[in-house]
Amino acid sequence: MHETRPAKITSPITTLNGGHLRTAPVALIVGAIGIGVAIMLSLGSEEGLKRFMFTYLTSFCFVLSISVGCLFFVTIMHLTRAGWSVTVRRVAELYAMCALGLGILFIPILATVISGSDMIYSWNQGGWTMHDLTTAEKAEFVNVANRPPLEQMKYQFLNQNFFTIRVIAYFLAWGGMAWFFLSNSLKQDKSGDKNLTSRMQAFSAPLMILFAVTVVFSSFDMEMSLSALWFSTMFPVYFFAGAFLSALCTILLTGLWLQKTGRVTDEITIDHYHDLGKLMQGFVIFWGYIAFSQFLLIWYANIPEETFWYNLRINQPGWMTLSILLLVGHLFIPFFLLMGRGLRRNRKMLAFSAIFILAMHWVDHYWLIMPQMNPEANLYTLTGMGIVIDLACMVGVIAVYIAMFCMIAGNRSLVPLKDPRLGEALNHEVH
């Protein structure tokens, strides 16, 4: 029989309840070990520190995209005045807040740029050469185009100073946005003031524009500029699609974990998971749509300035395997994993799908970043010990990220206590 639940928090524990004091140090130690092992092994490898920096950038972009996706989740929920998501919104707010902390993790990468090294970004060097082209292609560029070489033109945007300024601006913008939402929401926990919600809603629209701009340019800067001569205006959308998808998975997994450990047991219901699952499936398809659109346009136009990027990932046997893995693992399998109400209302299945998608999302960033390290090498020259480096670094960065989450969450409530739409969320029911 259907009864309306009162808009009251009933779970006995709504905070990490001291868990962060235990988890954070452990996570930090694991993080230090993981990253340390990765650095040591890389130094012994052929490419040296460069090997580590690339895999570090991969894992960094992976966790960054989660935070960015969570920030989008919070903003869009305010923008649409959503009621259902109130009980999972705090988790997203906390992850979004991690974006500021991730700014610290970006320092090693920024340091290579500031020190004038082209270890990661090939555009960052004296006479920036057409790094990842063959001699014949280079000659063609210079001969055919009766104008300054492309590097010269792109250098206006991709240069040390401007890059540094932009990156700092991104992290400040994300941190500022996340803090705005988190602090107001925390304030409401105490006062229950409805005006705070109105205020967040009013600001969510302009902030959404800020979000769009920063995500577009940060994806250009951090990932796409690895292959600085490439063109694709679809890239930021691709980045965003993966980011929001992985954010949904992370929110879902965090919710499940919190409930499994006896926290916020009453507030997040199967209906919330069901809706998250629906969104996940939607964004799996969206990711596929965008990935294919980007590919199709370039494939059809068949212009060497654009095709070389895919050529690398399709005609090199190793990267080809990874491309197929993404197509199947990032699109087809999750599509069917999340198909149907039964699967989307089964916590175990959802947890499995979320972990699977997150793993694929990491592979996605690997696929975007690693081929750029040494365009001549193919995946097979990166495997072997390389796998250990990648996994160690991934574990390390994720552990640091978890520690960051624990420290930010602290003793704060993991669910908004007095949100005006709490009742709606608690009584949320889907079919």
Binding site: H2, F292, L296, N302
Partner: protein
């Protein structure tokens, strides 16, 4: 509410379908549904002005199979979408559908060098087909499952029931249910809190169409067939009737077209004596930036040259078009080669950049006929010679520019090559209108550079061999492909 005729469910004019109980609020409806299900009723239905949470489990309604219908149709659409494109693109069935024996001819168009059937190009269309057919499957599947369209529903005969779209809630128990019993069911409904109970009866009076209407419908259907029949008949037929003009003032516009007579009349006379639509510039006027007085730069003719009387016609200014070689030889042109400049005009700086520019322009404009190495083996030329061989065309072979007559600086000074490009020569057409002056000089520079390399013609042009001018060895000629040609600076 209570009927006397409790036992007979059917009388002459109507048949009992079920009992409809009214409730005043959603909660009592849900409760009643729950009790009806517990009492073992299965053929029940509830009606409410808005979706009521929890009504589905209360009624024991199973989940719809619509998603599976949609999934099935969508998977089918993948094959339909791909198959349709595969067929229309003349996809391959091995030896059954080659160009020669087209069992499935399709439309075999090569588009930007892609295979006839290439998956990436076909995915968007397939995707659209999936989306469209899924939407249809959802929409019409829902109709089908809900037995729509239903032109008449006995429920609408109950006047109270109208408020189901407004503020009342109804539960219906069908007569077809095994548990149904007119009396006890009514008692149960009352017990569960029904505010009022109505019988739902189907009208059994004759509901056939009047016979004259059938006739009309038949005639209408036949008439509707006429337009398609007319269209089918018209297909593939010729007609002498003038076409219909739906928007006449778009078909006949008040304007003059190029190369026609001027329609402008004044006092019954044409406004322009020559009656032409296109007006020539006034004598002696020069358009801005087109003075072109410097003959050395613009025509390749020495500025101090004074035409002599012995000159018949200016060479090359008229394209002879289909003139045969015989005619050309019959009237050998009288030419004063001394009129042409032998040096590049002072405005043109000859350097590597110029020659490279010349190469690009040459490959675009000239290579089609003269070949990349200028030895006369361009594709147009080859094809034209082949056609001429079987009498399907008349063609003067595009000369090898390494021909002695062309490469000899005495007989063919720079200015003359420039003129050849600008105004054409013999059967070669003029390119002055397409290629800017500076580019034409660049081509001249590149032609001279090519001639310096002394490439031997690949096409067997016998005079070439006789003249014995070609100094390049065979090995040299084969090693020289257009791409890796060295670019000497003149």
């Amino acid at each position: 509410m209570a009927e006397e005729n409790t036992n007979s469910s059917t009388d002459e004019n109507s048949k009992l379908i079920g009992l409809v109980a009214q409730f005043d609020d959603p909660d009592s409806l849900v409760q009643a549904c729950d009790q009806a299900r517990q009492a073992g009723y299965t053929k029940t239905d509830a009606f409410s002005p808005f979706p009521v949470h929890g009504i589905d489990p209360a009624l024991g309604i199973k989940r719809t199979i619509l998603p599976f219908i949609v999934l099935g149709i969508a998977v089918g659409a993948v094959f339909i979408g791909l198959g349709m494109q595969w067929y229309t693109n003349g996809g391959s069935l091995g030896e059954f559908s080659t160009d020669e024996s087209p069992v499935f001819p399709g439309y075999r168009f090569k588009i930007s060098g892609k295979p006839y059937f290439s998956l990436p190009a076909n995915i968007p269309v397939t995707f659209e087909v999936i989306v469209l057919s899924s939407a249809f499957a959802t929409f019409f599947g829902m109709w089908f499952l809900n037995k729509l369209p239903m032109l008449s529903n006995p429920l609408h005969r109950i006047s109270r029931f109208k408020r189901a779209t407004n503020d009342k809630f109804f539960l219906m128990i069908e007569q077809a249910d095994e548990q149904f019993d007119r009396g006890s069911t009514e008692a149960q409904l009352n017990q569960w809190g029904a505010v009022s109970i109505d019988e739902c009866r189907r009208d059994l009076t004759d509901n056939n169409l009047p016979s004259w209407l059938r006739l009309f419908a038949l005639m209408g259907a036949i008439l509707l067939l006429l337009p398609p029949v007319a269209i089918f008949r018209a297909m593939g037929m010729t007609s002498r009737a003038p076409r219909l003009h739906v928007v006449p003032d778009m078909d006949w516009q008040d304007k003059s077209k190029t190369q026609t007579l001027s329609p402008i009349m004044m006092n019954d006379r044409y406004l322009f004596a020559d009656e032409r639509v296109m007006r020539a510039p006034v004598d002696g006027s020069v358009a801005r930036g087109q003075l072109d007085a410097d003959t050395e730069l613009y025509e390749g003719i020495k500025s101090d040259y004074v035409p002599t009387v012995s000159m018949t016609t200016p060479q090359g200014s008229v394209r002879t078009g289909l003139g045969t070689q015989d005619e050309a030889e019959a009237a050998p042109p009288v030419e004063d080669v001394s009129m042409y400049v032998t040096e590049f005009p002072k405005e043109i700086t000859v350097d590597e950049a110029l020659v490279q520019r010349g190469q690009i322009r040459f490959n675009i404009y000239c290579a089609a006929c003269h070949g990349y190495a200028a030895n006369g083996d361009g594709l147009v030329n080859q094809r034209a010679i082949a056609l001429a061989g079987i009498g399907k065309a008349q063609w003067t072979s595009a000369k090898s520019l390494h021909d002695a007559t062309v490469s000899n600086a005495e007989k063919n000074p720079l200015g003359r090559i420039f003129e050849t490009i600008s105004k054409g020569r013999g059967t070669m057409g003029p390119y002055g209108a397409q290629i800017p002056t500076a580019d034409r000089w660049a081509i001249v520079a590149y032609v001279k550079a090519l001639q310096e390399t002394g490439i031997k013609p690949v096409l067997a042009v016998s005079e070439e061999d006789k003249s014995g001018e070609s100094e390049a060895s065979d090995a040299n000629a084969t090693a020289t492909t257009p791409e890796d040609k060295t670019r000497p600076t003149p």
